[in-house]
């Protein structure tokens, strides 16, 4: 299953809205806090005295905020850090992490479909779990222990403000956590790199071209019964290392004399054909499980030695350029809201059909509109790389063993359709591979045609992608299913330009920055709650918020969608009375009560999901697992969210600490 990338705005566009939400939430929480505080104070001291107490507390916050001394904050931060170290929290975390890596190393190998994902998933989840757990333990014990042991007496009787006590602890634990995470990140990187790094040898006594076998031209299958590529002449195989082997092929590659030079390390022979073109024979390594190796040929003739370089392709940070929109058209060519639903539960992809025997010329298609396309965003503008992650739905009316054919076609989106010419490429037909991300490399000059605004062909020639098709920065890409009785499924993020690749180590670090942001929120939450709760209650509180936070998207989805079968109470009622979801309940008091109670419950749930930090917003593991670069805008937003929560929780912790009696 592919990664689903949700829409994300530019940070500049996102930020004002986020600040506004933060402001609204702050106002709402301050109002709620003041009201609640007044209720408690009025209950204890009477309505008038209660009013003065609340006013005094709020009024006192200003001098406290202004008088907060960075030196005192750092002193308390330093104490928190020393506490974490001397109480051996840090050492225990490292030991647990080290043991996890050691034990994990025993059971993992680079075999399987996507070993990189297994390794990355392991270290990312391990690190995240440990970092959050360490943060929770450090914070949940610190302040409650100080209060319980009364060491806090010697601190609050110094000119220390509640802000400094709360903030100092957050800063101190965050500093310890940062060092922990940095070291864990480095170890994780080394672990993944070392675990995935491997090479193979060619099977055969001599490790040379002589070990390769001729292909039977009648079947074109290798010794394992797998189909070889069309241009293959010979096949071979590698030894099994790291739980897998690669098939090798010697392919024939004929090129124009003036075509760009090849990587000549894998060339076995080179000869000139009578028509002047060059014929190369090259050793290719078939990719396996998301990686491949470069074959290096030494010597010439049948004794040429073949060796394989280390694995490559695992450490990617693809920078995709997604379409701005995707539209579906049915077999009659009419625009539709979504694609065909083929009955799968996960209806993320919409499907298009390839026609039927009754309707051979289906006009069903998916149209992607790309915007802001320019050579500047591509690392190599002469080579356009499209990546496809399509779904395929086969019917038994078609050939279910054959790979389904699809086609892609680029077309201009003219600024003025009445006068501007249209450039359109030929259909680029490809075989789909629904189990992998397909890479389709295209030259900048695509065979195609120039059309008049009325649709008539002006000329047929190679057209330039950037200067002609996407001259105004916008381009339409049409996907069609070219096989009758079969369906292709696609979502907006399933076809994209792989514009360039980011630095892997930086992407890895960004992934860890996401974990850091989660840890910061967690620490702030732990410190804020521990100002008025005991250790066990703080732990339960933080963990509840964590569960709520990781599922906040799900909860907000529950509230925003109209739920078939009603809310929790109505659903329960239906289960008990054995009514299915579609049956309408009888009008009456019972229905009204159920609906109103559900509305109230969902509203409460909605408010809670807003208060709980949305941890999935700070979670970037999927980007690393699937090899995508983490957008810097997304990262900036995550950091802002973490900071906003830290500020909010510091203020919350301040008021809780300030209004409580330290002694008993």
């Amino acid at each position: 299953m592919a990664m689903v990338v949700e829409d994300f705005l530019n940070f500049g566009e996102w930020f004002p809205g986020a600040v506004y939400t933060f402001f609204l939430l702050t106002v709402a929480l301050v109002a709620l806090g003041t009201f609640f505080g007044y209720l408690v104070a009025a209950f204890r001291h009477g309505p008038t005295e209660g009013f003065y107490i609340v006013a005094q507390t709020i009024g006192g916050a200003v001098p406290d905020a202004l008088g907060t001394s960075p030196r005192r904050v750092l002193a308390i931060a330093r104490l928190a850090a020393i506490e974490a170290i001397r109480r051996k929290v840090v050492i225990v975390t490292f030991v647990v992490f080290g043991l996890t890596l050691l034990l994990g190393g025993w059971f993992m190998n680079a075999g399987g479909a996507h070993p990189d994902r297994i390794y990355l998933n392991f270290v990312l989840w391990g690190t995240q779990l440990l970092a959050l757990l360490t943060g929770l333990l450090m914070t949940a014990f610190s302040l409650p222990d100080d209060i319980k042991n009364k060491t806090i007496y010697t601190v609050v009787t110094k000119p220390v403000r509640a802000t400094e006590i709360v903030l100092g602890r957050i800063v101190g634990f965050a500093a310890v956590g940062s060092v922990l995470l940095a070291v864990m990140g480095l170890l994780s990187f080394l672990f993944v790199w070392r675990g995935l790094s491997h090479s193979h040898r060619v099977v055969g006594e001599t490790q040379s071209i002589a070990s390769f076998e001729e292909i039977d031209p009648t079947t074109r299958l290798n010794r394992y019964g797998q189909r070889v590529s069309d241009s293959a002449i010979k096949t071979g195989e590698t030894t099994v290392d790291a739980g897998h082997r690669h098939m090798l092929e010697i392919v024939e590659d004929i090129r124009d004399k003036d075509s760009p030079p090849l990587d000549d390390r894998n060339v076995v022979s080179k000869s000139e054909l009578p028509d002047g073109r060059i014929r190369y024979e090259r050793v290719l390594v078939e990719p396996y499980g998301g990686h491949s190796h470069t074959a290096v040929v030494n010597g010439s003739g049948a004794n040429a030695q073949v060796s394989l370089e280390s694995a490559e392709g695992y450490f990617r940070a693809r920078i995709p350029v997604y379409a701005a929109s995707l539209g579906f058209y049915d077999s009659a060519g009419e625009p539709k809201d979504g694609g065909i639903n083929v009955g799968k539960e996960w209806a993320h992809r919409g499907y298009i059909d390839g026609g039927t025997s009754m309707n051979r010329n289906s006009l069903s298609k998916a149209e992607f509109v790309f915007e802001k396309i320019s050579p500047a965003i591509f690392k190599d503008p002469n080579l356009l790389i499209l990546e496809l992650d399509l779904g395929v739905f086969r019917t038994t009316k078609g050939d279910i063993e054959k790979r389904v054919l699809g086609s892609l076609q680029f077309e201009t989106i003219p600024d003025n359709a009445e006068i501007d010419p249209v450039f359109r490429s030929e259909r680029i037909v490809f075989e789909t591979d629904e189990y992998n991300v397909q890479i389709i490399p295209l030259r900048r000059d695509l065979p195609g045609e120039k059309l008049r605004p009325d649709g008539t062909i002006l000329e047929t020639r190679d057209i330039d992608f950037f200067n002609e098709i996407a001259k105004n920065g916008r381009v339409k890409l049409t996907l069609r299913c070219e096989d009758q009785n079969q369906y292709l499924g696609v979502a907006r993020e399933n076809i994209y330009f792989r514009a360039s690749d980011g630095l892997y180590w930086w992407n890895f670090s960004k992934g860890f920055l996401g974990i850091w942001a989660q840890m910061l929120v967690m620490i702030s939450l732990g410190v804020a709650l521990s100002t008025f709760l005991s250790t066990p209650v703080t732990m339960i509180g933080v963990m509840s918020m964590l569960v709520l936070g990781y599922n906040s998207s799900f909860i907000s989805g529950l509230i925003s969608k109209e739920n078939i079968g009603g809310g929790p109470l109505e659903s329960f009622y239906r289960i008990v009375t054995q009514k299915n979801m579609e049956i309408e309940l009888e009008q009456g008091l019972a229905r009204m009560v159920l609906e109103q109670a559900d509305f109230f419950l969902l509203s409460v749930l909605g408010s809670l999901s807003n208060i709980a930090p949305n941890f999935s917003q700070l979670h970037f593991s999927e980007f690393l697992l699937y090899g995508y670069s983490i957008d810097i805008h997304r990262l900036a937003a995550a950091m802002s969210v973490a900071l906003a929560f830290t500020i909010g929780l510091t203020v919350f912790g301040y008021f809780c600490f300030k209004t409580r009696e330290i002694a008993k």
């Binding site: 001397r86 007496y153 010697t154 609050v156 009787t157 110094k158 000119p159 002694a663």
Partner: protein
């Protein structure tokens, strides 16, 4: 340990904003109708710990809060420090409300048990508390060094407090209370957990603090300690103020007279009795005074230190 050895450290003068127009600089602490009622979670009254306490502590005096366990001594100190909030009434320190943080600039506090971070060393402890006062690094280091010397812990300054004995923790607790060179020192059971020598040193120290012009408020249920050092005392019982005044006048027994003399033979005792009876008085006792156990113990220890390996000359006199 001697308080007079500590030099006043150089640092910027404290800036305390005085907001009370009725503030009298000679009154360091004032409580007005101060009442504290402890309640449970639901707000129900559990204990009335302090009832309408009215007190004034003047600048430069040693004030003792005396009373049995549960009489409200510690509650009063905690209210003065802002660790507890009064149920009604007011507690003013340097003319400001006791919950005001800035007053802590001028206060030193030694809690009942020295609640310190046990994973810190003595040096780190004083450095940490010094940082909380925003004391510049150099001054902080000098003062920490002086205080460690003064409480006699130089030899153990790099050991974590978890390795300290109770008496040592108490000493470093006192050092942290003095790190800011405070004007007002609050001591909660200052001699608790100390051996007789430590107790004596602590009492000497308290008297030294007074000599430096500082105000000291201490609470204790060890009457002898209070009697030895306090100028004035308040006696609390079940949250009520029962007695308040100067120690010497409170303890003075006006209807009796005590004469102490030396060099008079035993035979003169009868004559003395006769003179007293002649003037209508009655003799309650005429005998050799006894020293205190504390004096005896301290003398023995002192002698043992001077002549190690020898049994004290005093010991075994009656055995």
């Amino acid at each position: 340990m001697s308080a007079s050895e500590v030099k006043p450290a150089k640092e910027a003068p404290r800036k305390i904003v005085q907001t009370n127009p009725d503030y009298d600089p000679n009154i360091v602490v004032e409580t007005q109708n101060l009442t504290k009622i402890y309640r449970d979670f639901w707000g129900r009254q559990k204990v009335r710990a302090l009832k309408a306490l009215d007190l004034e502590v003047r600048k430069g005096e040693i004030f003792g809060l005396l009373g049995p366990n549960g009489s409200g001594k510690s509650t009063t100190i905690k209210l003065l420090l802002g660790l507890l909030f009064p149920t009604s009434g007011r507690a003013l320190v340097f003319g400001n409300d006791a919950t005001e943080v800035t007053k802590n600039e001028r206060i030193g506090y030694l809690p009942e048990e020295s609640y310190l971070y046990r994973y810190l060393t003595a040096e780190e402890t004083l450095d940490f508390y010094g940082r909380l006062f925003d004391i510049p690094t150099k001054v902080r280091q000098e003062r920490a060094k002086e205080l460690i010397e003064r409480v006699g812990l130089t030899w153990a300054k790099r050991r974590q407090l978890r390795e300290y004995s109770k008496g040592m923790v108490r000493r470093i607790g006192l050092a942290q209370a003095l790190i800011n060179d405070p004007e007002l020192v609050l001591l909660d059971e200052p001699t608790s957990g100390l051996d007789p020598m430590g107790t004596r040193e602590m009492k000497d120290m308290i008297i030294d603090l007074k000599a430096q012009g500082k105000t000291v408020i201490m609470c204790s249920h060890l009457l002898a300690d209070v009697q030895d050092v306090c100028d004035r005392i308040a006696i609390l019982y079940q949250g009520d103020l029962k007695e308040l005044g100067r120690v010497d006048s409170l303890l003075k027994v006006s209807e009796e007279t005590q004469v102490r003399f030396t060099g008079v033979p035993q035979s003169a005792h009868d004559e003395i009795r006769a003179v007293i009876q002649k003037h209508g008085g009655s003799v309650k006792s005429l005998e050799n005074p006894k020293t205190t156990l504390e004096e005896l113990f301290l003398n023995i220890v002192r002698e043992s230190q001077e002549r190690p390996g020898h049994r004290s000359a005093r010991a075994g006199e009656d055995s």
